[in-house]
């Protein structure tokens, strides 16, 4: 199981790659659209890449709630701890 720090790094790396950004520009409070210049297709692609990287599924409903980088990290951390304790 990955710790919070590892999840954070991996998420930042995936977002940086999709949006062609320097990872240091990406903060936990950065909003995908307003701060990072993503469009709706970028957000969907990022969600898909996160699903693949972490071996998880993110529903459409949950996708709508993920607006910042931190939201994504938190969602994944919770998902992992749920599936670990299950």
């Amino acid at each position: 199981m990955q710790d919070h720090r590892e999840i954070e790094q991996k998420v930042v790396q995936i977002i940086a790659e999709q949006l062609d950004k320097d990872p240091t520009q990406i903060r936990m409070e950065s909003r995908f659209i307003e701060d990072l210049g993503a469009d709706s297709l970028d957000v969907m692609q990022i969600v898909m890449n996160l699903e693949e990287a972490f071996g998880i599924q993110i529903s459409e409903e949950d996708t709508e709630k993920i607006r910042t980088v931190g939201d994504a990290v938190q969602f994944i951390a919770q998902y992992m701890s749920r599936s670990a304790s299950a």
Partner: protein, 414 residues
Amino acid sequence: MTRRVVVTGIGMVTPLHPTTEGSWEALVAGQSGVGYVTRYELGEDFPVRIAAEVKGFDPLLYIDKKDLRKMDLFIQYAVAATEQALEMARYRVRPEEADRVAVIVGSGIGGFPMIEEMHKTLLEKGPRRIWPAFIPAVIVNMAAGVISIRTGAKGPNVAPCTACSTGAHAIGDAFKLIQRGAADVAIAGGSEAAITPLAIAGFAAMHALSTRNDAPEKASRPFDAQRDGFVMGEGAGILILESLEHALDRGADILCELVGYGLNSDAYHITAPCADGDGAIRVMRMALQDARMAPEEVDYINAHGTSTPLNDKIETLAIKAVFGDHAWKLAISSTKSMMGHLLGAAGGVEAAVCVLAICHGVIPPTINYEYPDPECDLDYVPNQARRRDVRVAMTNSFGFGGTNACLIFKRYED
């Protein structure tokens, strides 16, 4: 009175070079851009393993890295050629005239590479792994869409999809829009990037392609007796067209005038040209009539000249029918001998070749012309470029489905 339309910029991405200047230099030098397919491993079971790929293209010169995945290669080529053409024309769309600027850029096939890649993903990983930007990255009209978004052109925006006539139809349709006053400026042409295993296998299955795998640079040999099919090419050719008035008002350098456009259909067969050349004959006559021009005024024809046994024979027959004795005085060449067949982009790059031939007074050759064919007995400017004053140049495009187009360019004289 209809308005006059002039060409003020051209952009080319071809298998010879990813720029206009480089492509023209190689065309005049008679170089071949054909080689082995490098982007894919093609096994020995592929009857055709050669093509004219674009080499040394750097999309990052034109497009942000993050946007590349949203554009299959044909869109990237179209953007690159458009940037070059706008640069040559020294033109940028001004907001106050944005709705007077048209974009008419088509593609014969669209995003084959990504369709194949995504289909593989679908089979291997399932539907949830298909990229959200997949569809907009591959559909045929997206070159025109992306160009309008990037340039701010808010006028008519369409994408002809007429196989190998696409680029010529785009330029011709843009010409008519400007002529009748529906736009003042147009970014027009064609783009193609479909050299993929599936497309090669498909064209090979039709026996449309040359199988000269042992000598790729000799494979495209239009009008030569040993021709055995076309060679797939890729790239983009874009022209900037303007009403004469618009070009003069902004002090643009005028490269030449576009004076004639013909378009029609064979109503005959899905792939074969009609045996008596009917469609080709009528389309050239239609363009001449549109230009109010006698056949004798034409100095150069950039032929469709695909290097298939049937096309070159019937195009020759059609040229004789239209031009009579003058057919032997004309210079005719097929630049597909060097660039391969750019399919939907062919009409775009070949229109650009006509413009350059007029500007430079040089006609690029038909290379690999070695063995005369008694049925192809005109002057094809064999193997060596020729210096010749070109006042009027015509270009032919004939597409699958029997769809034909013909354009006539003329030196600008006021």
